[in-house]
Every structure is written in structure tokens, then in C-alpha cells.
């Protein structure tokens, strides 16, 4: 049987969710007999293959133009999209800036921070622009499975992947559904 292909990517987020993925320990080895991880921010290959994958995993909220592109690309290239973590599923920590304008946020970060001298907001076409509001992934593209948690436990990520391998869309409850 061909392996199920999985790609992951991250958006506005810390690396905690990906650490939780690695935290599956021996389950990861077991899973690797059935799935192939084609690409992820923590492997050599970063971008999901153009020919597409079965399962796409996104961590993080969508807060700038680059992240929006990454989210859309993953949606186009995967059959089932899983949003992992509070930031991806419920907007999480990045929501903190939502009652400020992007300008306020940048000024605070690059100019007003206590340790900054003569700070300037960097301007370059290569730098992504902040969106007016940070959003959970489902506000930008259709999401098939949301797995909140900060980060979600390795057990709950394992549970979600196992359910998908069994051909079911997982329903979260009990220990698998946590927001912290």
C-alpha cells in the first residue's frame, strides 16, 4: 500500500506545536511506517510538493500576506487540512494585537521598545505586510479538522492522525480537547 503523504507548515506561531509533533516519540516511528512526511519547516524540504499531499498540517494564525499565501498554497495542495494549535484553530496569542492597528504594532516593536535606539520600521518589498487583523486559519481557507491546544499534546496529535488513517474525521473530547 502506498504511504499516506503528509506536509506541515507554520504561520504566525511559536514552534511549540511542531515540538509536540516530535514529542510523539515512538508513535512517530510507528506512524512513519504508514505515512511519509514530504516537507515541513523542520526538515530539509520546506514546501509541500506541487503534486499535492493527502494531509496538510498548519500551525499558527494568519497575520501577514506571506502567511496568507502559505495557507492558501497548503489548502490547494492537500486533500485534508488540519489546523493544529490554539493560534491556528482559535487565533490564540496573535489575537493580542487585534485591538491595535498594524502601524501601532510595528511602531511599538521597532521604534518604541525600551532597548531600541533610533529604531525604524523596515520597509522592503520582500517583507510581508501585516494584515489589519490576525485570523485563525479557517477564516482564510476551509479547514477540515481543528485541533486546539497550546500546544496540543502529542497524544492528541497522534489520535487525530490515527483517526485520519482509519478514514474518519476525528471528533475531539476529553483529554484530546484542551485549550492550554
Amino acid at each position: 500500500m502506498p504511504k499516506v503523504t503528509v506536509a506541515t507548515d507554520w504561520l504566525d506561531v511559536c514552534a511549540g506545536c511542531h515540538m509536540s509533533l516530535l514529542d510523539m516519540d515512538e508513535h512517530l516511528i510507528e506512524l512513519l511506517s504508514k505515512i511519509e512526511i514530504t516537507s515541513s519547516p523542520i526538515t530539509d524540504l520546506k514546501e509541500p510538493p506541487e503534486e499535492g499531499v493527502d494531509v496538510g498540517i498548519l500551525t499558527g494564525a494568519v497575520s501577514d500576506t506571506h502567511q496568507r499565501r502559505v495557507a492558501r498554497r497548503m489548502r490547494e495542495r492537500c486533500k485534508i487540512l488540519v489546523a493544529i494549535g490554539d493560534c491556528a484553530a482559535m487565533n490564540g496569542i496573535p489575537t493580542m494585537r487585534n485591538d491595535l492597528t498594524p502601524d501601532d504594532v510595528l511602531t511599538r516593536g521597532y521604534v518604541e521598545t525600551e532597548s531600541t535606539v533610533d529604531g525604524k520600521i523596515p520597509k522592503s518589498r520582500e517583507i510581508a505586510r501585516l494584515l489589519p487583523q490576525s485570523m485563525p486559519v479557517h477564516e482564510v481557507v476551509k479547514v477540515d479538522v481543528n485541533l486546539p491546544g497550546c500546544p496540543p499534546s502529542a497524544e492528541s496529535i497522534y489520535f487525530v492522525l490515527k483517526e485520519l488513517l482509519e478514514g474518519r474525521i476525528p471528533t475531539l473530547s476529553g483529554e484530546y480537547l484542551k485549550y492550554d
Binding site: 482559535m90 489575537t95 487583523q133 485563525p136
Partner: protein
């Protein structure tokens, strides 16, 4: 009450006239999710989680079960697909407004909103998650608690308990709709408002919107130990729950099931013991040598005291006790003083009057129509919970409060009349006109109250506010006399936590030949003691006390004392053995 029959989820169930639909469901073990409902305060249906479908002609009506009276013959569904969907929507709206990012919330794990979100399997929120512009100001001006309106779901529990349960009338609501917010007084910071730090609001808040500063992030309900006990800071004897973790005291809460207070506590019982007690603990026996207190073994310290007591003329021996002690310990103290023939024995608070009323029932305050408070303050210091129980009754129109006191007291703003002591006759007249007057007084007002008793005979109830915590226990032990420091050359003090000692008494004790103090804290006894015998604090004590009502209440040990600290009774027994 007439019985009524309803059909809930296709089953016939019984209720009583006057029940709400929620009451009937709860009586019949039918699980209806709730959020703003809280036992003991009036329901208001603000959260809409407890909605049910009521069948009638046409489409079923959807109503909040906590505010809809149950009537005979009603047909109700509590758990349909439609209701589940609506409840889910309500929860998503609550979660989407403000800051419900649990990863940095101290309430996470102990939050009723979070519990419901888990129960309804909420794994994402349909609407945009945006902090409300109105409520970003976190109020940390209060010494003991922090209010974070961003985590408030406007269930109004805090408003209802502050007003209806504790009678403090501090919290209210400003604005309407999405701009609504909980405010203190007219919008002051809570630390500058009339908040009396009773902490009732902290205890009922279902979310992380009001937090006890000290215990935030120190352990969830599942990680801590809870010990039911009795507050040892005044004679109301409020039932409390001592929260600890790994033998470390975390927090004190009111016990909703306890009789005198029904969950209420005051600042002295809830916060002060853990926030404001900053004296050094007496944690090893000490003996004064070369005018310095120096560490000793228990054996050396007890021998030093036993020697003195044995060879001092019994008329020169004095005994001074604190009513922080349990009745058992007070009785033991009385027995050993008797055995030694020591008569100069009394309580730190001074002699105790022994009122003719051997007890009363604080819940009678709810049936009174006139409260006459003589001598007591009730708004600060001791017996504040009695003040709350009176104030909350004053919300009812036909109930009046009269203060008889030459000084201004804190309750005056709630009172209908403030009389001078010389106007006592007016108070007596008011009592004669009232149906159910209750006179609340303390030992300072004994003479006035004797006069009232005479004139009113059985037409008024008299509630004595004892000077000490376990004064009634001291009475039961026969320790109601006066200790005269001038007549004692060798003094044994059982101080427990007591530290508020007059300068006069301290300076007289300094002059005594020998002073042994069995105490929980060094201050102020290190000034006068020749021997320090370290003993337990309230949370380490076991036994009973008799409260102002005359009820015997259980004090339970929540944590173990430090290694070298001994229980009061163990010290007394060890000493008695050495004296022989």
C-alpha cells in the same frame, strides 16, 4: 407547598409550586447546563445556557429554565439538537468576545466557561475573535484581587453576591449591550472604591475575570487539598475551606454549607491570614540567656519552665490565655492551673461578661425587622460577617437599622438612625414598636443592654458579640476571670497567634521575674519572654471552638506544623508531667 407534575424529556417528574424549571430538573437529576446560575442568589437568566423548549400550541417556546416558573402539566425538552446548537452559539459568542485564550489564564482548568466549551466540543469559533475595545483595562488596584474585564462574561454573579449576599453594594453594571461592564461604585478602581475585601466575588466568578492574587497559578482544584475548618479570627466562627498544596497554604475560601456564614467570609478570615500576617514564626524553643533569647531543646525549655512553676508560690503564679485556642486546650489549661492552685488566671481580652442568653441563631437576622447595634462597629475589625448578614437584609424596604454609639461607625451609611448612648430610650421605644427587634452588642455596651433587657423583657433578641474568638469556650472552661499582672511574678502565657497586646500589659510583664510564652509568632512576646515554646497556627490546629451563637464548631488541621513546633495541648501535658 402544592406538588406539581411536569413532563421533562418524555418522563413524568414532580416539583413544587414556586420552583423554576431548573429547580425541577435539578431535583430530578436532569442535567441542564448552566453558567450564570449560582445556588443561593437570585437567578437572572443572563447567560442563556440553560434554555429549554416548552411545548404549547404552535412551535415550542424557548426559555431560560432558571427564570421560568414551572407549572403543572408543562411539557419540556432539555436536550434537543436545536438547543444544543443554540447553546454552542452562545458559548462561541462568549469565547469570541474579550480574551478567552486559556493558555495564559490563571483560571484554566477551573473555569466553568472552559468546562462548557469542552463539553460542547468547541474546537474552533465561527465568528472573528476580537478583544472588545471597551474592556481592556485590567484593574489591579485592589490589595487582594485582580479584576480582568477581558475575561468577564457578564454573568453578574459578582454583582449579585456583592449586593444580595454580602450586602456590600459595591459592584454594578455600566452601559448596555456589548459595552456593558462590571464597575465598582461609580466606576472607581476597585482599590479606591467602597470594596471591603470580603472576597465573595472572587469565590463565585466562574471565569478568570476576578482572581485571588496570591493563589493565581498556584494549583488547580484537582491539584490542591481542601480542608473544611472554622475561621479562628473572631467569634462568628465562619466555616471555611483551607486550600493547601504540598503542606503549603494557598488560599482560604468560604464554606457554602457552613451554618453561621453560608459561604461568606470577611477580609480578616479570607485574606489577612495569608497576605497580612508578616510576623516571624516561633519555630524553635528558646531560653533567655545573657538577656538574649537563644535556641534550646524542648527538654531544656520545658525544664526551665517547670522549675519556675514548681518553686514559685502559687499566689505569685499568673496565667494568661488567648481565645485563639480550642475549647479542649482552654479546659486543659484551666485544669492544670487548678491543680497547681493558681488563681490569677484570665484571657488576654480581659474578663468576659457572661450574658444571660446562652446562645442565639444568626439566621434569625433574616426574620428581624429592626436591628439595633450598640457598641459594635461591624464594618471593620471583628464580626464583619454579622454586618454583612444585617446589611443584606436592609435591601428589603421594611427593615431598619439603628446605631447606638457616641462614635461614628462604618454601618452608619446603611442606618436609618444614629443615636447617642444618652438617647438609649429612643432605641428602646423603637424596639417596642417593632415586631422582631434584634439587639447586637458587645461587652462595652453591657450597661445599656442590661437596661434594654429589663425594659423589653422577651420582646427583643440579644446577640452578644464576644470579645475573643473562643470566648464562649473560655467561659465553658471557667476562664472568665481577670488576670492581674501586678500580682504575678511568674507568668505563663498561652498566646497562640495573639499579638495585639496593650503596651501597658507588655511593660508590666517585662517587670515580672519570669515569663514563659507558648506562641505561634515571636512578636511581641520576644520582648518579654524568658522562655518561648513554639506552637501551632490556625491551619495546624485540631479541636473545637464555641462560637457567638453557642455552637460547637470543628477546627481541622490542614497542614503539618514546622518540625519543632508542638500542639498547644502537647506542650501543656509535657509541662504537667515535668511538674509532677
Amino acid at each position: 407547598m402544592a406538588e406539581i407534575t411536569l413532563t421533562i424529556n418524555d418522563k413524568e417528574v414532580k416539583g413544587e409550586d414556586g420552583d423554576t424549571i431548573l429547580n425541577v430538573c435539578q431535583k430530578n437529576d436532569i442535567d441542564v447546563p448552566t453558567l450564570c446560575h449560582f445556588d443561593g442568589i437570585p437567578d437572572m437568566g443572563s447567560c442563556r445556557i440553560c434554555i429549554v423548549e416548552i411545548e404549547g400550541s404552535g412551535r415550542p417556546r424557548i426559555s431560560t429554565s432558571c427564570t421560568t416558573p414551572a407549572t403543572d402539566g408543562m411539557i419540556i425538552q432539555t436536550d434537543t439538537e436545536k438547543l444544543r446548537g443554540m447553546r454552542r452559539n452562545v458559548l462561541e459568542f462568549l469565547l469570541s468576545e474579550g480574551n478567552h485564550h486559556c493558555m495564559y489564564c490563571a483560571a484554566s482548568g477551573d473555569c466553568e466557561l472552559q468546562d462548557l466549551a469542552y463539553r460542547f466540543g468547541i474546537d474552533y469559533i465561527k465568528m472573528p475573535v476580537t478583544p472588545s475595545e471597551e474592556s481592556t483595562h485590567v484593574d489591579s488596584s485592589q490589595r487582594y484581587l485582580v479584576a480582568d474585564p477581558n475575561r468577564c462574561i457578564l454573568c453578574y454573579r459578582c454583582v449579585r453576591v456583592c449586593n444580595d449576599m454580602a450586602g456590600n453594594q459595591v459592584l454594578g453594571i455600566s452601559n448596555r449591550g456589548s459595552k456593558a461592564q462590571i464597575i465598582s461604585d461609580m466606576g472607581e478602581n476597585r482599590g479606591e472604591s467602597g470594596c471591603v475585601s470580603c472576597g465573595t466575588c472572587v469565590q463565585v466568578c466562574p471565569t478568570g475575570a476576578i482572581l485571588d492574587r496570591r493563589s493565581a497559578y498556584m494549583g488547580r482544584k484537582t491539584e490542591v487539598d481542601t480542608t473544611k475548618s472554622t475561621c479562628l479570627f473572631c467569634s462568628v466562627g465562619c466555616g471555611n475551606e483551607i486550600i493547601s498544596r504540598d503542606n503549603y497554604l494557598i488560599r482560604i475560601e468560604g464554606d457554602w454549607d457552613a451554618e453561621p456564614n453560608k459561604g461568606l467570609l470577611c477580609v480578616l478570615g479570607r485574606f489577612s491570614p495569608l497576605y497580612d500576617e508578616c510576623r516571624a514564626r516561633a519555630n524553635k524553643p528558646m531560653i533567655r540567656k545573657d538577656d538574649q533569647l537563644q535556641k534550646a531543646t524542648w527538654n531544656e525549655a520545658l525544664n526551665a519552665v517547670a522549675e519556675k512553676l514548681k518553686f514559685t508560690d502559687k499566689d505569685k503564679i499568673g496565667g494568661l490565655v488567648s481565645t485563639h485556642a480550642t475549647t479542649e486546650t482552654l479546659k486543659l489549661f484551666a485544669k492544670y492551673s487548678d491543680d497547681m492552685g493558681a488563681k490569677n488566671v484570665g484571657c488576654i481580652e480581659g474578663p468576659i461578661s457572661d450574658p444571660p442568653e446562652k446562645g442565639f441563631d444568626l439566621s434569625d437576622l433574616n426574620d428581624a425587622d429592626l436591628y439595633v447595634v450598640v457598641g459594635e462597629d461591624l464594618s471593620e475589625g471583628l464580626h464583619q460577617v454579622v454586618g454583612f448578614l444585617i446589611k443584606r437584609n436592609l435591601i428589603e424596604r421594611d427593615k431598619r437599622l439603628v446605631i447606638v454609639n457616641d462614635e461614628e461607625t462604618g454601618l452608619i451609611e446603611f442606618a436609618d438612625k444614629h443615636l447617642k448612648i444618652s438617647e438609649l430610650d429612643k432605641a428602646i421605644e423603637l424596639c417596642k414598636d417593632a415586631e422582631n427587634p434584634i439587639v447586637v452588642y458587645n461587652d462595652e455596651a453591657i450597661n445599656q443592654v442590661d437596661k434594654m433587657r429589663e425594659e423589653l423583657a422577651d420582646n427583643a433578641k440579644f446577640f452578644w458579640m464576644p470579645p475573643g474568638i473562643n470566648s464562649r469556650g473560655a467561659l465553658a472552661a471557667g476562664l472568665d476571670g481577670e488576670f492581674d499582672p501586678d500580682k504575678a511574678s511568674c507568668v505563663y502565657v498561652m498566646a497562640c497567634e495573639a499579638g495585639d497586646i496593650s503596651e501597658e500589659l507588655l511593660s508590666k510583664l517585662k517587670k515580672a521575674d519570669f515569663v514563659a510564652v507558648q506562641t505561634s509568632y515571636m512578636e511581641p512576646w520576644d520582648e518579654v519572654a524568658d522562655v518561648i515554646l513554639p506552637t501551632t497556627i490556625w491551619a495546624e490546629r485540631e479541636g473545637t471552638v464555641i462560637n457567638m451563637e453557642g455552637q460547637e464548631l470543628k477546627v481541622n488541621k490542614a497542614v503539618d506544623p514546622p518540625k519543632e513546633v508542638k500542639a498547644e495541648a502537647d506542650i501543656l501535658n509535657a509541662l504537667a508531667e515535668k511538674i509532677g
